[in-house]
Amino acid sequence: MNLPLAISETATATAVLFYALALMCAGSAVVVVVSRNIVRTAVALMFSLVGVAGLYFLLNAEFLAAVQLVVYAGGTLILMIFGVMLTSRSPTSRFEPSKSEVVVAVSIGVVLMVSLTAALLHWTRRNPPQSAPLTGEHPYAVAELGKALLGDYLVPFELASVLLLSVMIGAAYLAKGRRDLP
């Protein structure tokens, strides 16, 4: 019977992966906060988003991880970098926050982080998980996700497509600029 050994090995591998991905996410997020160079901020954000995609893999959400990589790291972030290039005279332009702003922001962040962590630990101590996570080959198959999207969640799904159409028209109109108008 080597089943318990296999389970503990899987748990150890999951733990190692989680801590590596968490370090990547958290470190890049800190760089996003402290960096004054907007291009460097964008690159750090990309690493953070890729780390979150890895966390989705750990949580058995393979489709979501792929969507995260394609839409966020591949689409939204490139859009932002284009925005940076189009709106700054030099791509490395800086805007410094004032001393008081830094003090206020850091104190808000520290207080929020401490209180959130305390509340989380308190909550998980009082509410241990009722049901164990599903294990097995592919408990969360993409087919189930597709059935849910085109079944129970059909109306929000269609609303999202209408929203994307209106956003496309609105963004094209807004970004056209005034110089083309008569």
Partner: protein
Amino acid sequence: MTIGLTHFLVLAAFLFVCGLMTILLKRNAIGILMGVELVLNAANVNLVAFNYYQHPGSAAHPLLTGQIFAIFIIVLAAAEAAVALAIFLSFYNSFSTIDVERANEMREQG
């Protein structure tokens, strides 16, 4: 050494706080948008982790509510980023800067 729900929740809280501080500290409008993306990602991690650990459903009928929510949030975040960047471009065409300190008056001068 088992990774539980708490680990993911604490990491998501840290990402949320980082996003909030980015929103508070950046004066570049696109930097603020990046902070918003971090906050939305923290919410997504929470949703998927709760889905996985607290409401996985059964093997025959897995519950995917958290993942569906996360997909819709990703769609909304992409739409929000597109519109916000269009507004920033329009603002830049009028003011030649995207410093939010100067954005308190969004109509053209004169």
